[in-house]
C-alpha cells in the first residue's frame, strides 16, 4: 500500500542522509522525497512517499522516530489529507501543436511560464495522478523534459504536525 509519511526534523547538515540512508539500509522503498525548511528555520519538513505492507510501514515510522534528528513523524495516509506535486514540463511547441498544447494545459489548469519559438514550459500542480494524466494526454514525442518535485502533503483540518 502507498503511504505518505510526513516528518519534522532538525534543519541540520546530514539529517537528510540519515533518513535516506535508513531507507536504503533497511531496503524500504522511496517513491519520492521532498524536504525544505519550515517557518521555523531550525526545522525542516519532509514528505516521503513509500509503499509496503502494514508491518513494513509500522517499522518505517518507528525507525524514523528513532533517528535522533527526527522530531515528529506522521503517516498522513492514515486519515484525510491533501497532496500536491509540482511539475515543470518542457514541450516542443511548433505549428498546430502550439494551440493544442495550450488547450490541454488549460484543461488541466496548467500555466505556460516560458515561451520560445519552438517550446513551452508548462507548470502544473496537482496530485500525482493528475500530473500523470497530463503526460498521458499529450503527444509523448513532444516532451523534451519533465521535472517533478515529488509529493508534499498536509493533514486536513485539525490534523497539525508541529512542535
Amino acid at each position: 500500500m502507498r503511504h505518505v509519511i510526513s516528518l519534522l526534523l532538525e534543519n541540520e547538515a546530514g539529517a537528510l542522509s540519515r533518513v535516506s540512508g535508513l531507507f536504503s539500509a533497511r531496503a524500504y522503498n522511496i517513491e519520492s522525497l521532498t524536504v525544505a525548511p519550515t517557518e521555523d528555520p531550525s526545522l525542516s519538513r519532509m514528505t516521503i512517499v513509500t509503499s509496503g505492507s502494514d508491518d513494513v510501514i509500522e517499522q518505517i515510522t518507528k525507525q524514523l522516530n528513532k533517528l535522533i534528528e527526527v522530531v515528529k513523524v506522521v503517516d498522513l495516509s492514515e486519515a484525510a489529507h491533501v497532496e500536491r506535486e509540482l511539475m515543470l514540463i518542457k514541450v516542443r511547441a511548433t505549428g498546430k501543436d502550439r494551440e493544442e498544447l495550450k488547450r490541454t494545459a488549460d484543461i488541466f489548469r496548467g500555466r505556460i511560464i516560458d515561451v520560445t519559438e519552438s517550446s513551452y514550459v508548462i507548470e502544473l500542480t496537482g496530485d500525482s495522478r493528475k500530473l500523470d494524466a497530463f503526460i498521458e494526454a499529450i503527444d509523448r514525442s513532444l516532451i523534451l523534459e519533465t521535472v517533478r518535485t515529488g509529493v508534499c502533503g498536509v493533514g486536513r483540518g485539525d490534523r497539525i504536525l508541529r512542535l
Binding site: L9, E10, A13, G14, S17, R18, G21, A25, D55, E58, Q59, K62, Q63, N65, K66, I68, E69, V70, V71, L163
Partner: protein
C-alpha cells in the same frame, strides 16, 4: 576559562569521570594527545590496532554499565575502528568514539588521511557528530555521553577536525542537556502493564524470555523477583546470560540456535510469553512462521519501540525501561494474591522436567583427547563461576555460553549481534582494566584469537593478567560444522594450516604460554594459571577436531527442529 579544543576534550572526559581511554595516536589527534600527556586523571591505554581500542572500550562498558571511550585518528584510524563500532552498535553498548579529522578547510579536498567519517559510520552508530566550531565541543561531548548511555544505548562518534582542537574558547561543561527530538520513554504505560499482568494470571504455561536489555538496564534483581513470584521458567538469549542466575531451578538454559532442548521447547509451547529486553532475532526463534504456528499470547517489554512487533507480532507491547516496568509489575504483584493457576503451573513444570531429562548438553568425555566442553566445565569449576569470561566467535563461544553457568550479569562478554571474531583479547583488556584484581578468562579459538593477537603486546604493557583458553581444533570449527552438516562434508577453506606455536608466541610477547594435550592435564594447567595472579597465561588446549555444538537449529528452520547429537544426522 579560555581553553583550546584539545584541552576541552580532556576536560569533558574528566567531567564525565572517565578513567580510561583506549586509543592510538596520529596526525589529526596530536593536539588531544598533547593534552592527555599533561594530566593524570584520564589514563590512556595504547592498543596495537584501533579495532581493539573500540572493543576494549565496549567491554569496559559491558562490564561496568558506564560508557567506554575510544580515541582514534582520522582516515585509517577511523576505518580500523569501524568493526569495533559496528560490534558495539549491534549489541546496544554505550561507547563514545572520538575521532580526529583533517582541518575544516581541508575537508572535501581529498586531504591526507581524510575519510568521510560521519558518512562511513552513520549506519553503525546511534548518532554521530562533526564538530566544526570549538564552541560546540563541550555541548557535543555532553550530548554524546547522554545519547550513548540513555534510552537504548549505543555507540556515538564525535569527529573533531584538527584545527578545531587548536582553536580556543571559553569552557563550560553543561550540567544537563535536553534534546527536543530525543525523549526515550522510561515509564511503561500503566494500562498496558495491567493488561499484561491479566494475561499472565490467565496463563497455564507462562514463559519468561529475556535478553541483553535486562543487563543494559541493570534489572537483574528485579527480574529475579518477578520470575520467583510467578514461579515461571526463564530462558536467556546469548546476550542475556547472567541476567537470571543460571544455577537457579527456574532457569531452563539459553535458547536459540544452540539453545537447550528444554528452553526451545518451552519457548515454542508456552501459552503466554513474556519477552523482556530481547528482540526475537533469527538466531533466537529461527523461522518466525514456524514459531507462529503455535498459538500463544506475547507480552513484550522493550525500551525501543522498533524492536516490538518487528519479527513477531505481539499482543501486549510495553515500551519502557525494563527495570521501571519490572518494578511496576513487582509492585502490582505485591499488591495482590492473584497468581496463575498453581495446578497448571505444576503441570507445566512436569512437562519441562520431562524435556530436561533429554540431558541435551551431555557429551561423551574421553581420556585420550581433550573435549572442548570439558575445558569449559573445568574453567567453571576452578573459577567457581565467578570469573569474567570474554569469548571470541565460533564453537568455543557457544560452548562457553552452554557450560559456564553465569549467575550474575555483566560477567559474560561476547559479540552476540555482529559475531565479530577477534573481540576476545581486547574485550578481556577492557574488563580487566575496569576490574583490576578480578579473574578474567578469554575463551577463544585458534582462528579468532589471531584476529587481534597483536594485543598481547598491550596486555604486557599494562600488565593485564588475563587467562586465554584457546580451544585449538585446527579448524574454523563453526564453519567446519556447517560444512559437515549442510555442505556434504566439503571443508572448503576451513582448515587452519601453518598455525604458530601459541605457547612460544605468548612467550615472545613476554607472557606465559602452555600447551595442553591430555585431558588429565586440563585441570592442573588451569589451576596453575589462575594462581599466577600477575601474569597473562596463554593456554593452548589441543582439543578434539571433530566435536560439534549441539543442540543445533539449522538457520531458517523452526525452533523445535533441533539436531540433538551426531546420532540425529
Amino acid at each position: 576559562m579560555v581553553l583550546t579544543g584539545a584541552e576541552i576534550v580532556i576536560r569533558c572526559l574528566q567531567e564525565e569521570k572517565i578513567e580510561h581511554v583506549f586509543g592510538y595516536p596520529g596526525g589529526a589527534v596530536l593536539h588531544i594527545y598533547d593534552e592527555l600527556f599533561k594530566q593524570e586523571s584520564v589514563r590512556h591505554v595504547l592498543v596495537r590496532h584501533e579495532q581493539a581500542a573500540v572493543h576494549a572500550a565496549d567491554a569496559y562498558a559491558r562490564s561496568t554499565g558506564r560508557a567506554g571511550v575510544a580515541l582514534v585518528t582520522s582516515g585509517p584510524g577511523v576505518t580500523n575502528a569501524v568493526t569495533g563500532i559496528a560490534t558495539a552498535y549491534m549489541d546496544s553498548i554505550p561507547v563514545v568514539i572520538i575521532s580526529g579529522q583533517v582541518p575544516v578547510p581541508a575537508i572535501g579536498q581529498d586531504a591526507f588521511q581524510e575519510v568521510d567519517t560521519v558518512g562511513i559510520t552513520r549506519p553503525c552508530v546511534k548518532h554521530n557528530f562533526l564538530v566544526k566550531d570549538v564552541r560546540d565541543i563541550a555541548p557535543t561531548m555532553k550530548k554524546a555521553f547522554y545519547l550513548a548511555e540513555s534510552g537504548r544505548p549505543g555507540p556515538v562518534l564525535v569527529d573533531i577536525p584538527k584545527d578545531v582542537t587548536a582553536a580556543r574558547c571559553e569552557f563550560r561543561y553543561p550540567a544537563d542537556i535536553s534534546i527536543r527530538s530525543y525523549n526515550p520513554v522510561v515509564k511503561g504505560h500503566q494500562g498496558q502493564i495491567r493488561k499484561a499482568l491479566q494475561l499472565i494470571f490467565e496463563a497455564k504455561r507462562p514463559m519468561i524470555y529475556t535478553g541483553g536489555g535486562v543487563t543494559l538496564a541493570d534489572a537483574s534483581e528485579k527480574l529475579i523477583r518477578f520470575a520467583k513470584s510467578l514461579g515461571a521458567p526463564v530462558t536467556n538469549t546469548l546476550m542475556g546470560l547472567g541476567g537470571f542466575p543460571a544455577t537457579d531451578k527456574l532457569f531452563v538454559g539459553m535458547l536459540g540456535m544452540h539453545g537447550t532442548f528444554e528452553a526451545n521447547m518451552s519457548m515454542q509451547y508456552c501459552d503466554v510469553l513474556i519477552a523482556i529486553g530481547a528482540r526475537f532475532d533469527d538466531r533466537v526463534i529461527g523461522d518466525p512462521a514456524h514459531f507462529g504456528q503455535v498459538p500463544r499470547k506475547i507480552v513484550h517489554i522493550d525500551i525501543d519501540p522498533s524492536s516490538i512487533s518487528k519479527r513477531v507480532k505481539v499482543d501486549v507491547p510495553i515500551v519502557g525501561d525494563v527495570g521501571e516496568v519490572l518494578d511496576e509489575l513487582n509492585r502490582m504483584l505485591d499488591a495482590t494474591a492473584e497468581r496463575p493457576d498453581a495446578q497448571a503451573i505444576s503441570d507445566w513444570w512436569k512437562q519441562i522436567d520431562a524435556w530436561r531429562t533429554r540431558d541435551c548438553l551431555a557429551y561423551k568425555n574421553s581420556d585420550e583427547i581433550i573435549k572442548p566442553q570439558f575445558v569449559i566445565q573445568k574453567l567453571y569449576e576452578i573459577t567457581k563461576g565467578e570469573a569474567f569470561v570474554t569469548s571470541d566467535v565460533g564453537q568455543h563461544q557457544m560452548w562457553a555460553a552452554q557450560y559456564y553457568l553465569f549467575d550474575k550479569p555483566r560477567r559474560w562478554i561476547n559479540s552476540g549481534g555482529l559475531g565479530t571474531m577477534g573481540v576476545g583479547i581486547p574485550y578481556a583488556m577492557g574488563v580487566q582494566l575496569a576490574h583490576p584484581g578480578s579473574p578474567v578468562a578469554v575463551v577463544t579459538g585458534e582462528a579468532s584469537v589471531q584476529m587481534c593477537i597483536q594485543e598481547l603486546s598491550t596486555c604486557k604493557q599494562y600488565r593485564l593478567p588475563i587467562k586465554i583458553c584457546n580451544l585449538n581444533n585446527r579448524y574454523l570449527g563453526m564453519v567446519r560444522q556447517w560444512q559437515q552438516l549442510f555442505h556434504g562434508n566439503r571443508y572448503s577453506e576451513s582448515y587452519m594450516d601453518s598455525l604458530p606455536d601459541f605457547a612460544k608466541l605468548a612467550e615472545a610477547y613476554g607472557h606465559v604460554g602452555l600447551r595442553i594435550d591430555k585431558p588429565g592435564d586440563v585441570e592442573g594447567a588451569l589451576r596453575e594459571s589462575f594462581k599466577r595472579k600477575n601474569e597473562l597465561v596463554f593456554l593452548d588446549f589441543q582439543v578434539d577436531q571433530t566435536e560439534n555444538v549441539y543442540p543445533m537449529v539449522q538457520g531458517g528452520k523452526g525452533l523445535t527442529e533441533m539436531i540433538l547429537s551426531s546420532e540425529d544426522l
